[in-house]
Amino acid sequence: MIKLVDVNKHFGLHHVLKDINLEVPMGEKLVVIGPSGGGKSTLIRCINMLERPSSGHVVVDAVDLMAHRAPIAKIRQSVAMVFQSFNLYPHKTVLENCTLAPIVVKGVPKEEATETALGYLERVGLREKADQYPAQLSGGQQQRVAIARALNMHPKVMLFDEPTSALDPEMIQEVLDVIIGLAHSGITMVVVTHEMGFAHEAADRVVFLDDGMIIEEGTPEHFFKNPQHDRTKLFLSKILR
């Protein structure tokens, strides 16, 4: 479903991703962990071309997004992203946040987009907030709306970049529960997170990214029980206190 081949990314002189090779088969739930500044956000943002790699190939749904005139906007319609800072549209109601792109970008009829949006809002437990504005919601609620907004595009892939790290501790679980629920559907997911409990419960595979390189990968159990590299051990010892 997703294939990164020899991906490099430079920000000026700063070499942020170094020869990344990564394949995510359809339906896999991949968790990306690693220290701050290690390149996790850059990596996940390369998958939908919010960052354009300096070299290499990014193949999503059999389309090489690095190719000349690649249909990037088209692919983005089926690759939804949930951001750390929610990025809901503040001038639109919760419902409109969920229906705007389906209507405008995909050409879904308004009634249909509304109906499916209300279904997804129900699923994240916020149907009764449909007519409110994002500013009237708590952080956890906003992030759940952002997930409903993403789902209403009926994506094949969902990307999460630290979806809970901007939240107050008491709101983290409500958002994780929603994401775990999604993980049990067939969708392909890439999740950057430090929530190892989530990784344990939902991930098929974990990759540890440090200094722009994939240092180690394996099942969640592998990382809990016998991580191999010193850097991995050091990192895990910090987050698994």
């Binding site: 939908n48 919010l50 906007a73 088209k74 983005r76 319609q77 690759v79 939804a80 992203m81 951001f83 800072s85 990025n87 809901l88 549209y89 503040p90 001038h91 705007l100 792109a101 405008v104 970008v105 995909k106 907004r149 595009m153």
Partner: protein, 235 residues
């Protein structure tokens, strides 16, 4: 004290004498016609300025260097040369290049203030767009919006709230600046007033009433600007 009353003769003669006021008030329709022309030039000029300003503002924030460059040159050119020269260019120089085209003075006025204030509005729009966090554009692009679509549905509607006060301020300046076409016999309020005044020397009262005319058009907008500013601060 009594000196003041001895000088009561200023009501009979001099620049502000009663006969001059009477002459003006019996010809107010001339000024009315001029005011209509001013309103026409101002409203169409504002429409042009808004359209140009939005395009220039969006261009100034695009990733493409060429577009940013074009917008920059446009803004710097129109902001750093007098409006009067731009109007003279359209009025005098353009017909020398293309003698067959004859642009009506009113259209020159609309183009003049439209292009000039388009540059200023472009800067206002640019600042407004840049005040919207980068996350909004990214969220829109990530959903498959094109750059222009993201601007249209996500960024500009939010920027609009922020730029409304400076925009109405531009409208006030634009209305006043339409008076440049008086110099090319534009038939606007300033021109109507000036030519009436010049005929009999009724400058004093005429300029006061003409000034009042502009004031009546601009002041409500100035009040609106202040209201909008308060509202923006309030939220």
């Amino acid at each position: 004290m009594s000196g003041l009353f001895q000088n009561i003769g200023f009501l009979q003669q001099g620049p502000f004498s009663i006969p001059r006021w009477e002459a003006l008030f019996s010809h107010l329709d001339v000024l009315g016609q001029g005011a209509l022309v001013t309103l026409l030039v101002a409203s169409l000029g504002l429409a042009l300025a808004l359209a140009l300003g939005t395009v220039i503002g969006v261009m100034s924030t695009s990733h493409w260097k060429i577009l940013r460059g074009i917008a920059r040159v446009y803004v710097e050119f129109f902001q750093n040369t007098p409006l009067l020269i731009q109007v003279f260019m359209l009025y005098n120089a353009l017909p020398m290049l293309y003698p067959q085209v004859m642009i009506p003075v009113i259209v020159i006025g609309i183009m003049g203030v439209g292009m000039y204030h388009g540059a200023y509005i472009g800067e206002v729009v640019r600042a407004g767009i840049q005040s919207i966090g980068r996350g909004q554009l990214e969220a829109a692009l990530a959903q498959g919006f094109s750059y222009v679509g993201a601007m249209r549905y996500i960024i500009i509607p939010q920027a609009m709230r922020i730029v409304l006060p400076p925009l109405t301020n531009q409208a006030v300046n634009l209305i006043k600046n339409t008076s440049v076409i008086a110099i090319i016999a534009g038939g606007d309020l300033m021109y109507a007033g000036d030519s009436f005044a010049g005929r009999y020397g009724h400058y004093g009262p005429t300029y006061i009433v003409v000034g009042l005319g502009y004031f009546l058009m601009c002041f409500p907008l100035a009040v609106l600007t202040r209201r909008l500013e308060d509202r923006t601060k309030g939220v």
